[in-house]
């Protein structure tokens, strides 16, 4: 078991190292650089020597591999470098912009899971009927809605038409309702689809018939036998969808004018602010890898067969 955990953690670290390196190489390969953009403009009136001096102070004149090693060392000690555009440490920018995004993404993830469970439970509680058909077609509808459009529509309907949620100077909770919904609905769609299909598959298993033959009611069977079996493949999808969530958060922040990682990314891309971009990529990768590590570690807990295989193969 310990070897299984160590193996998974090792894999996660490897993914991080590769991501870090790939991001570094790609960012270096981009044409133009932030120092040029900021300091070469004519208003600054700096001479070529002065710009070179500035470059040297940022370490930008060193060979690539030396810069790479330096950046690795800095990241390991928690120093993400300086934003050239803003002239402040990246750490400070992250301290301001990361929490709101994490809050948004976390809440949206919870909301998506909740929505998924409610959809799946309802479609299996109502029996056969037309309602079940309608509920089961909801995920395909959700999945085909683009995030930006959904955000705008939610604002249109709930703020401007119905006046339920204010978008102009809203309260701290009110501010989050629509963005969370915008982000959660498209994420819940594939989750609900997978979960519903798995529930149907598990319901066809002989052990479900055996449970019914014991006298168990439909809902007893659903919660005590089907749920845990059906949730397994859904977990994997949930981990993968977390990446989608981060991408969606950037768009959602733009639509709702929220400050966060989205806005920071947008600025950094425009200004070729490689240090900021490098930090954002690494932090996103870290979040993604962590979530999937948690999923991997949850698997043997939910499915004893895996725990068994893990114990015998390691």
């Amino acid at each position: 078991m310990i070897r299984y955990i160590l193996g998974r953690v090792g894999q996660a670290l490897a993914v991080l190292v590769v991501t870090f390196t790939a991001a570094f190489v790609l960012l270096q390969a981009l044409p133009g650089d932030a120092i040029m953009i900021k300091f070469m403009s004519p208003e600054m009136g700096l001479s070529a020597e002065q710009v070179a001096e500035i470059r040297a102070s940022y370490g930008a004149d060193l060979p690539i591999w030396e810069q790479y090693l330096k950046t690795v060392g800095n990241f390991l000690s928690g120093n993400f470098g300086y934003s050239i555009q803003a002239g402040v440490p990246v750490r400070h920018q992250l301290a301001v912009n990361l929490p709101p995004t994490l809050q948004l993404a976390g809440l949206a993830f919870l909301a998506a899971v909740l929505l998924t469970v409610v959809l799946a439970a309802m479609s299996n509680m109502v029996g056969m009927g037309r309602l079940r058909g309608a509920l089961q077609s909801l995920p395909s509808l959700f999945i085909s809605i683009p995030v930006f459009w959904l955000g705008i529509m939610l604002i249109q309907i709930f703020s401007f038409q119905l006046g339920l949620v204010s978008v102009i100077s809203p309260g701290p909770v009110e501010k989050l309702v629509l963005p969370v919904a915008t982000l959660a609905i498209p994420i819940s769609a594939p989750l609900a689809q997978v979960l519903m299909r798995n529930i149907d598959e598990v319901l066809a298993q002989p052990f479900v018939a055996v449970a019914r033959a014991k006298g168990a009611s439909r809902s007893w069977v659903l919660w005590r036998h089907v749920a845990r079996n059906a949730v397994l493949p859904t977990l994997t999808i949930a981990g993968i969808l977390f990446g989608e969530l981060l991408a969606g958060a950037v768009v959602t922040e733009a639509v709702f004018g929220l400050s966060g990682l989205g806005g920071l990314t947008y600025q950094a891309v425009n200004n070729h602010d490689t240090a900021v971009l490098q930090a954002i990529v690494v932090i996103s990768a870290f979040a993604f890898v962590t979530i999937n590590l948690v999923v991997d570690l949850l698997y043997p807990v939910v499915d004893p067969r895996l725990g068994h295989r893990v114990a015998t193969t390691t």
Binding site: P206, V210, K214, G215, S217, R305
Partner: protein
């Protein structure tokens, strides 16, 4: 006569298929007296399982009782709601299901699944239930019960899982147990012990049993009365002895004559020719598999298997699951590289063949698998399935290929119209004929049949066995017949190797091995064949009952 416990009266059941209803059970009537064992016997599609499901109120979602009554102790439960049925299921009527492999929830311990039936019907507090769980596990022979209760289904063998399911079925001492093919997924020796256990428990509690089975042998051994179903109609019913001694319907007579365990051993053609003309020679075949994660540790699946097969004869490799018989088949076909030993097929040493030579070798030896549903590509037509092997070897003209395919389809007894069909439009027996045609189209000399008739109904099985026999005669084929079914083996093969845990425990001509087995294991296997006590056998002097 005592009042019947279960009375099924003029029961008709239909399944909804798209916009029309298909009736599968047509006015079936029978009864089960208290303490009695009644067997519902029939082949797949006879409606026996549907009838049993209806008694439990567990028809598939598209099934519906059209008319008739199901009276349990005099009360008609046919029209009861699921909620009302929940109160009697598990407590008054219980189920022993067919497939112990998938009939237990894989993510819950067996103890919790046994306790569940008592929780649902609120029998006692946690402590009382726990004590009862341990008692029941002990009673069905799962010891130490404390440890077994904490185990998950995947940690138990098939027979042990079936014991758990039996414990669940008897936990609340129901009046009626519906046993739906309770042992068809198990090895014969396990089958016998499980059936003995069901017998004991039902005697202890005075429970009635409705035994659903396709195996006349099992029904004959275990039931008081037989109800023979075909196509959703009762062909005949009556006390076991009467039905077997003097079957009234032609269908029952056919079932009896096709059942391999009841038939007398077929007289094999005496094989003439050269006794040294060997098609297969296996010498000291040993196969080790690495144990996953076990480092250098290995598991010995086969240990020194040796036998010789004369050209044009059938050799059977018999064993229970896990015995190594399938490993042997795979090594001989060249799918596995043996750890040690020599395999000669048509004089070629399979173990030394590599690459192109190995590919060429496959023309000489072909494999037919057990599952006629999984081994055919559902998207290909029968023509393409049979044609495909030809495309893998030297190119021949399309017209020649078509001729060969047509010829082969005719040989396996299928009409030409089948060439354009897809596997889903074929029955199990027809699919297996297609699989045989595919194997034979390259003109191999040796055919390896891995449980090739095990998934088929007895009458279909008898037809396929007859086909194999005929093809052997006309094409001079040599068969290696891998099976767990001794009764079938006795009918089809000339020589046999019995393997147990990777070792050959018996071998030689079939008559000799069956009459005077060398090992206790073989004797056990032979004794476990169901249907040995059938009156037909006793009254039939030249049946094999004479020499066992």
């Amino acid at each position: 006569m005592t009042a019947p416990l279960l009375e099924v009266d003029d029961l008709a059941i239909a399944y909804r298929m798209g916009d029309h209803e298909q009736r599968v059970v047509h006015g079936v009537s029978f009864h089960v007296a208290p303490g009695e064992v009644v067997a519902l016997v029939g082949e797949s599609g006879s409606g026996k399982t549907t009838t049993a499901q209806a008694v439990l109120g567990l028809l598939a979602g598209n099934g519906r009782i059209e008319r008739g009554a199901i009276r349990l102790s005099g009360t008609d439960i046919a029209g009861w709601s699921q909620r009302r049925l929940d109160a009697i299921r598990g407590a008054v009527v219980s189920l022993i299901p067919q497939d112990p492999g998938s009939s237990l929830n894989p993510v819950r311990t067996v103890g919790s699944q046994l306790a569940e039936v008592m929780q649902i019907h609120k029998r006692g507090d946690r402590k009382a239930i726990r004590t009862r769980v341990l008692d029941l596990l002990t009673r069905v022979g799962l010891m130490p019960a404390e440890m077994r209760a904490r185990q998950y289904p995947h940690e138990l063998s098939g027979g042990m899982r079936q014991r758990v399911l039996i414990a669940i079925a008897v936990a609340l001492k129901p009046k009626l147990i519906i046993a739906d093919e309770p042992t068809s997924a198990l090895d014969v020796t396990v089958q016998r012990r499980i059936l003995d256990l069901i017998d004991e428990l039902r005697r202890e509690n005075g429970t009635s049993v409705l035994l659903v089975t396709h195996d006349l042998g099992v029904a004959a051994d275990r039931a008081d009365r037989l109800v023979v179903l075909q196509g959703g109609r009762i062909q005949e019913q009556g006390p076991v002895k009467d039905v077997l001694a003097a079957p009234a319907s032609a269908y029952t007579r056919r079932l009896l004559s096709d059942a391999p365990s009841l038939a007398k051993p077929r007289l094999r053609r005496s094989v003439g020719g050269d006794a040294t003309d060997l098609a297969i020679e296996v010498d000291g075949l040993t196969q080790d598999f690495p144990i996953a994660g076990g480092g250098a540790k290995t598991f010995r699946a086969l240990d020194g298997l040796s036998f010789k097969v004369r050209r044009g004869t059938t050799h059977a490799v018999v064993g229970e699951s896990g015995s190594g018989k399938t490993t042997a088949a795979r090594s001989i076909v060249g799918f596995l590289k043996p750890t040690a030993g020599r395999i000669l097929v048509d004089g070629m040493d399979v173990t030394t063949l590599r690459g192109e030579a190995l590919r060429r070798f496959r023309r000489h030896i072909q494999l037919v698998y057990q599952n006629p549903f999984g081994s055919l590509d559902p998207r290909q037509t029968v023509f393409h399935i049979v044609e495909e092997p030809l495309l893998n070897f030297e190119p021949i003209a399309a017209a020649d290929r078509a001729r060969k395919v047509r010829d082969m389809i005719g040989r396996v007894g299928l009409p030409e119209a089948f060439l354009t069909r897809h596997p889903r439009g074929l029955s199990g027996g027809q699919r297996q004929r297609v699989a045989i045609a595919r194997a034979l189209v390259l003109g191999p000399r040796v055919l390896v049949l891995d449980e090739a008739v095990s998934a088929l109904d007895v009458t279909v099985q008898a037809q396929i066995l007859a086909l194999l026999d005929e093809l052997q005669g006309t094409l001079g084929l040599t068969y290696l017949f891998v099976s767990h079914d001794l009764a079938v083996v006795q009918q089809i093969s000339d020589t046999v190797s019995v393997i147990h845990k990777g070792r050959q425990v018996d071998g030689g001509p079939v008559e000799r091995v069956f009459a005077r087995p060398d090992s206790d294991y073989t004797r056990d296997l032979i004794e476990a064949i169901p249907g040995r006590g059938m009156p037909v056998l006793a009254s039939n002097p030249d049946s094999r009952a004479g020499f066992i």
